[in-house]
């Protein structure tokens, strides 16, 4: 889980790797809360993410709702496994997913 912010603080890239499950989503939520102030472009890089459960989906949903008023949230480099979860839950239509 790495956070990278542009110098002006308006762009934030969050790279997630491994599993996003109920044990580590609180950490992600906490860090997002700390870092999201003033961010207008939020990008999740999921190239290293193999697994997501409903706990992680909840974070994507609430974050997307938060960003809807202030800027843009994009999801990039989604692997096949995670994409399967996004598709079956309808999240593929809710989230702005850039396909590789």
């Amino acid at each position: 889980m790495t956070f990278q912010k542009s110098a002006d603080g308006k762009e934030l890239t969050v790279a997630l790797t491994g599993d996003l499950d109920s044990t580590n989503t609180p950490e992600l939520e906490g860090k997002l809360l700390e870092e999201m102030d003033g961010v207008q472009e939020l990008c999740f890089d999921l190239s290293g993410l193999d697994y997501v459960s409903s706990a992680g989906l909840r974070v994507f949903l609430t974050t997307q709702k938060q960003m809807a008023g202030v800027g843009k949230m994009t999801i990039r480099h989604v692997g096949e496994e995670v994409m399967g979860i996004f598709t079956v839950t309808g999240f593929s239509k809710l989230l702005h997913i850039e396909r590789d």
């Binding site: 109920s22 044990t23 697994y51 949903l61 079956v88 839950t89 309808g90 809710l94």
Partner: protein
Amino acid sequence: MKELRVEASVKKLPIVFRFVLEELENCGCSKKTMRAIKLSVEEVFVNIAQYAYDPQTGPAIISMEVVRDPDPVRVIISFADTGKPFDPLVVERPDTSLPLEQREAGGLGVFLVRTHMDWVHYDYQDGMNILTIEKNLQEVAR
């Protein structure tokens, strides 16, 4: 059949994963099937951890069996708790066609279990909630 008795707490999830996945790995289960089972196990266990004993905590008893006869080989995993009687399967399915503003996060866990398992069953017996999930393991030879 093997059994794990563990505190129903989210921080115990790694122990639960190990208990289930070790057995599946040993019997030659595919990565895809393992991931589907792992997901369902997380959703069911976390549900118990968050709601069954709220605001206290209590035990969860997880039993697992790979059944080879009759065909196909399948895995049966049961989760028992002595918390508040609650059938998670009555929770309304999320409407996956709703737009962002109307989508709620609730109900996703059970929905994922239903979509990834072949059979899901709830029972209340002897003061215990028992949720059983089952998946065919076509790839595993008898």
